[in-house]
Symmetry: C2
Subunit: 218 residues, 2 copies
């Protein structure tokens, strides 16, 4: 059994390592809103519990056991986000903080029933895949709008940034999951992208940064 805090460290290491790259102390401190010294302390503890492989001055990766826990926290987080949006009608930019708390409710049975209640959703409200009860994750072929060429189109299927202001911005431009976009022009001097949504006449322009953070399937 892990504490709330331990679960957050494991989840963050999982997300930062994207597979298996070692994660640095400072990276963790930045995301967990804490100090490097605190991170070092916690890494020692998690290492003793054999949830991570930790080499001083080098970095940290998850062990198999640690990864299992991390994936489970991610599963819980995404299922609760889905619940909040689909059942309680919250908007996609409102659910993150609540899910951060709900993800630490410990009962496995509860999460599995919730999963069943919602008919086993595969993606959360931001398009991120929801691991199943065995930790299996569906992987879609996502790519950012910034990698499309002029005249290419795609269906918005995920986002790489989850901050409420960014999500509200997308909502305002109708750049929501499921909508189809087509790239009309890529401006040479700043790589900003001009595109249309759902075949509309209306052309909208988004920055290169934004284009990197919106994921499409073709």
């Amino acid at each position: 059994m892990q504490t709330f805090t331990e679960e957050n460290y494991l989840k963050t290491i999982y997300k930062l390592s994207e597979g298996s790259a070692p994660v640095s102390t400072n990276q963790l401190a930045a995301i967990l809103n804490t100090k490097a010294a605190s991170v070092t302390d916690m890494l020692k503890k998690l290492s003793e519990k054999k949830l991570i492989d930790y080499t001083r001055y080098y970095g940290v990766t998850l062990t198999e056991v640690g990864k299992k826990i991390a994936v489970d926290v991610v599963r819980r987080h995404r299922l609760w986000e889905y619940f909040l949006v689909e059942k309680l009608n919250f908007k996609w930019d409102e659910v993150h903080d609540m899910a951060e708390e709900l993800e630490h409710i410990s009962s496995t049975e509860l999460v599995d029933r919730l999963d069943q209640f919602m008919d086993y959703p595969a993606y959360d409200p931001h398009g991120d895949p929801i691991p199943d009860k065995h930790g299996r994750i569906k992987h879609h072929e996502f790519k950012p709008i910034s990698q499309l060429d002029v005249d290419e189109s795609g269906v918005i299927s995920g986002v790489r940034e989850h901050s409420p202001p960014f999500l509200q911005y997308l909502e305002k431009l109708n750049l929501m999951l499921g909508n189809q976009i087509r790239v009309i022009e890529i401006l040479a001097y700043d790589q900003s992208v001009v595109l249309t949504v759902n075949q509309s006449e209306n052309k909208i322009s988004i920055s290169k940064e934004a284009a990197k953070n919106i994921l499409v399937t073709s």
Copy 2:
């Protein structure tokens, strides 16, 4: 904002004081599974925060602010219990521990949406009233079976004891909420009660203790 632990103390004081009677250190220690010394420490802290009125060697009562928080924790607990039983199909003896965790999720908006989602239930799965968002509580005229006379009948509407074994026992005897019982006989030597459920032929016998813990309306 209170910690998890502070909320548990306030909730327990609220339940033990049944209105406004002062609660003792040892009573709290027993229910909170902790030691009297720890309780004293926490009472000092809650007193400084003006959530309780605490007099050394005498006892503790809630302030108005403390009571508001306590009622809100109770509201959250009972709404989540209702959710677990009505939406996720848990049984009434399975939900307590999960609700103990869920009740500490802080968002007020979340609880209010949950309330709306379930269409504002008035009672939880054990017949306890669910306070509304303003802290108002519906009070029913409950009395224990032990106070009925021979030939009197009533509808089971609540329980005074929430332990899984007791709830499972009631389920086995079909003594579930909503069922009608009639007292056939009260044995003189131990006050055990013989009764029928839903007009059945079948007579069942329960101890005086059990009869005290089952609440009926007439």
